[in-house]
């Protein structure tokens, strides 16, 4: 069924990545009075008209859809800030610029539910899309430069980018690791054999025995 990850590969569905991103705090301006909400996920509010307050994204979207608040878009989601980030990302050999871990999910939820609260919303959306494409392109390129090592650091990478590049990176890194491991002495051949996925052991260890 759409949205549910294939339980057999440990990958997150886009809906699950968005679900995790919905716990990020955003600022809203309520237009009604409401008692504090004591959720399992934490305490939020006393909501007073026109007084900004911080709530998780999923709660903000629910209130917005019910006409109970407007969003205060996060500082990083502005035309100027995003233009600088895009320019920096496009610099050759540049590192990833700092962005919230779930910046893709936050942007999409705000575009879907809070269009009228984001100034120049369509310009902002085009910039976010371009930033996302440039970063993915860079990620794919330096996949090739992973050396044969057991740990590769990734700076300022976001949830969606990790989820997207994970299968390719995993295959590449496993292949590197298997081929150019430092020469282990022969004694612990068994430990190495336990590294390969378990294939049938073809040669019989002991000769054929009488039935």
């Amino acid at each position: 069924m759409a949205g549910q990850t294939d339980p057999h590969i440990s990958l997150f569905s886009p809906e699950e990545v968005e679900f995790m991103g919905e716990d990020e705090l955003v600022e809203i301006v309520p237009n009604m009075n409401m008692e504090p909400l004591n959720f399992i996920a934490g305490d939020f509010g006393r909501f007073v008209p026109q007084i900004p307050t911080q709530v998780p994204l999923w709660l903000a979207v629910a209130l917005k859809r019910r006409g109970k608040c407007t969003f205060r878009p996060p500082q990083w989601l502005s035309v100027d800030n995003l233009t600088q980030i895009l320019e920096a990302e496009r610099e050759p050999q540049s590192k990833f610029q700092p962005l919230p871990f779930s910046y893709v999910e936050i942007a999409r939820l705000l575009f879907d539910h809070a269009r009228d609260d984001i100034p120049d919303m369509y310009m902002v959306r085009s910039l976010v899309e371009d930033i996302r494409d440039v970063r993915l392109h860079k990620l794919e390129n330096n996949l090739g430069s992973f050396q044969g090592t057991s740990a590769v650091k990734m700076d300022n990478v976001s949830a969606m980018e990790v989820n997207l590049v994970r299968p390719f990176a995993r295959r590449a890194l496993e292949a590197f690791y298997k081929h150019d491991k430092p020469e282990a002495d022969t004694a612990d051949r068994d430990t190495r054999s336990s590294r390969q996925p378990r294939e049938a052991n073809n040669e019989p260890r002991r000769p054929l025995r009488q039935r």
């Binding site: 237009n31 859809r65 019910r66 006409g67 035309v79 233009t83 895009l86 320019e87 496009r90 269009r115 009228d116 100034p119 120049d120 919303m121 369509y122 310009m123 959306r125 085009s126 910039l127 371009d130």
Partner: protein, 587 residues
């Protein structure tokens, strides 16, 4: 109070009834599947209901009887659990408590632009039916009453209880009037109060049928009041107003007033982005697509121009075709001459509109303004709404109405895709991310308009095709191919208006017109009557309502008069002629 003046108190009452404890059913919504305004109204009200987490079930219907198929037992039996029903764009012109046999606990809410509203539905004592009929709707109505409707409604409801269906009651009033004329002595003794009541009631119903404010616009005002209006809902309000305009359900003056109202909403809804492009320091330009903006502009009365080409759109659009008589050869010659005089090469005009060269497109308005008045086409441009989306594409509200109506009216009889399935197609096509469905609807609308031109030309040029009686003219569409396009109420109504305009251009005396065409059911004929376009100061709307029913009863064939316009009726193929003869006596 059964008649609700304020749209917000209507919603408050609906919400309270729908969420009342003990109700076993969610709110049941029955939108009419006969017109675009109904879909727009449905989308607006469901947006509001969803944001208030009110559960509902929605079943599109195309006639009075279908409601029982879906509503389940709660509706009319004496079951104790309350059930709340919302009717969209149908039902208010008949006595709902009677017709739907409402049980003690059923409550029906009605948002319907059909007028007049049946007096029993408006009475304060009728708790079962709640009708939304705002003051400004009544004041601006095309046909105004000079008496106090609600007082009359209450009196009629109390009196109504003893007498049966209100049509019969109105029937014997008319006989009285005639009797009064020639045989005063036999008239029954009546005190003045009753006589006045009877006279007012007769005047109320004698006005014939017409339309009030579009339901989509009414419910958009509700969303605005509840601070839940969005750009999407504003566009739906524009489309629902244009639906009434395209199908001649309101006067031009009322259309202009309503356009002005929506223009204020468009201006104030911050529709226009300030920054539309950004240039990076290395010179690359990042452009923002047009953000599904709504704009209002002067649009030519050319049907589906952006989906068609200039020549064919001028050839087939009713407004130009009837003025230039493009059904005749010299009419087509006149059209080609006009294009030449405007400096447009014919092959250019036959290019698909998006590929027509921009020079012609830019000069079009200026040339039309210069030449068209000579042909009597002075109000060729009218104020309308446009939706911009993607990078440069535009769609006009009128074209959306044509396309969606064509989708609604392409259900097939037995076996084929049902009316409610087509309602789903039309519902999806109304959202911007389903452009392919809208486009297929618009292509279908082009075929319908070509069929109208074909059958219109045949009817006008072939003598004896249009049978003219004392009270009305009527014509039957025999062509089986074109019947596939015209065998639907809205399409056949457009065909009637086309014929009426053509006859006016030929100088014929204006008379109501009826069109008959094979419907989707085997052996059945759909008959649609049109009295003329609503005009300011007109005394009557469409007078066919009751006359249809009585003529059909007397012709003793079985008939189906349950569709949502009383000027639409379905008859046995064999009964058409006798129906027409009897109808002349009834008018």
């Amino acid at each position: 109070m059964v008649r609700i003046q304020k749209v917000e108190s209507f919603y408050a009452k609906l919400r309270e009834s729908a969420t009342s404890a003990g109700s076993e059913n969610p709110l049941l919504i029955f939108p009419s599947s006969s017109d675009v305004d109904s879909i727009c109204a449905l989308k607006v009200i469901t947006h509001i209901l969803e944001s208030d987490s009110i559960q509902y079930s929605c079943f599109p219907v195309s006639s009075f009887l279908e409601i029982h198929k879906y509503a389940g037992p709660g509706l009319c039996s004496s079951s104790e659990s309350p059930v709340t029903i919302l009717l969209i764009n149908w039902g208010c012109h008949r006595d709902l408590k009677l017709v739907l046999k409402l049980g003690p606990k059923a409550r029906v809410f009605v948002v319907d632009s059909h007028r007049p509203i049946h007096l029993h539905n408006l009475s304060d004592y009728n708790e079962r039916v709640v009708v939304l009929h705002t003051d400004d709707d009544e004041r601006q109505a095309d046909l105004a009453y000079d008496f106090h409707v609600s007082k009359l409604a209450n009196e009629s409801y109390q009196r109504g209880d003893e007498s049966d269906d209100e049509e019969e009651e109105e029937e014997e009033d008319e006989e009285e009037e005639e009797e009064e004329g020639d045989r005063p002595s036999k008239r029954r003794k009546m005190d003045d109060g009753v006589k006045l009541f009877k006279k007012l009631k007769r005047d109320y119903y004698k006005m014939g049928t017409f339309h009030g404010k579009p339901s989509g616009c009414l419910l958009f005002e509700l969303s605005h009041f509840l601070r839940k209006n969005t750009n999407e809902l504003l566009w739906l309000a524009c489309v629902s107003l244009t639906d009434q305009f395209v199908h001649e359900r309101l006067t031009d003056e009322r259309y202009q007033a309503a356009v002005m109202e929506l223009e204020q909403h468009i201006n104030s809804s911050g529709n226009i982005d300030k920054v539309t492009s950004v240039t990076l320091k290395d010179g690359t330009k990042v452009r923002a697509p047009d953000c599904s903006r709504i704009s209002y502009e002067e649009e030519p009365r050319l049907m589906l121009l952006r989906e068609w080409n200039l020549f064919d759109s001028m050839l087939c659009s009713s407004y130009i075709a009837t003025k230039l008589k493009t059904w005749s050869d010299n009419g087509i010659k006149k059209l080609k001459l006009l294009l030449a005089r405007m400096g447009f090469a014919l092959i250019e005009c036959q290019q698909k509109f998006p590929y027509m060269n921009n020079e012609v497109k830019r000069k079009m308005k200026q040339e039309f303004d210069r030449f068209l008045p000579e042909y009597g086409l002075n109000d060729f441009y009218y104020r309308s709404f446009l939706r911009l989306h993607g990078y440069s594409s535009k769609v006009s509200a009128a074209d959306v109405v044509y396309g969606i109506t064509a989708l609604l009216e392409s259900f097939l009889g037995s076996g084929g895709s049902s009316a409610s399935q087509q309602f789903g197609e039309a519902y999806d096509a109304l959202s911007l991310n389903n452009l392919d469905k809208l486009q297929s609807g618009m292509q279908q609308a082009i075929k319908v308009q070509r069929a109208i031109l074909r059958q219109g030309s045949k009817a006008i040029t072939k003598t004896g095709c249009i049978r003219s009686g004392r009270k009305f003219r009527w014509v039957k569409v025999d062509d089986t191919i074109d019947a596939k396009y015209l065998g639907y109420p809205q399409a056949l109504t457009k065909f009637c208006y086309f014929l009426m305009d053509a006859l006016r251009e030929k100088g014929a005396r204006m008379k109501p017109i009826l069109c008959a065409c094979a419907s989707q059911e085997l052996g059945k004929i759909l008959v649609v009557g049109v009295c003329g376009k609503p005009r300011l100061g007109a005394v009557r709307g469409n007078a066919f309502g009751n006359a249809f029913r009585k003529a059909a009863q007397e012709s003793r064939a079985d008939y189906f008069h349950e569709l949502f316009e009383s000027s639409w009726i379905v008859l046995d193929a064999s009964a058409v002629n006798s129906f027409m003869i009897r109808l002349t006596e009834k008018l």
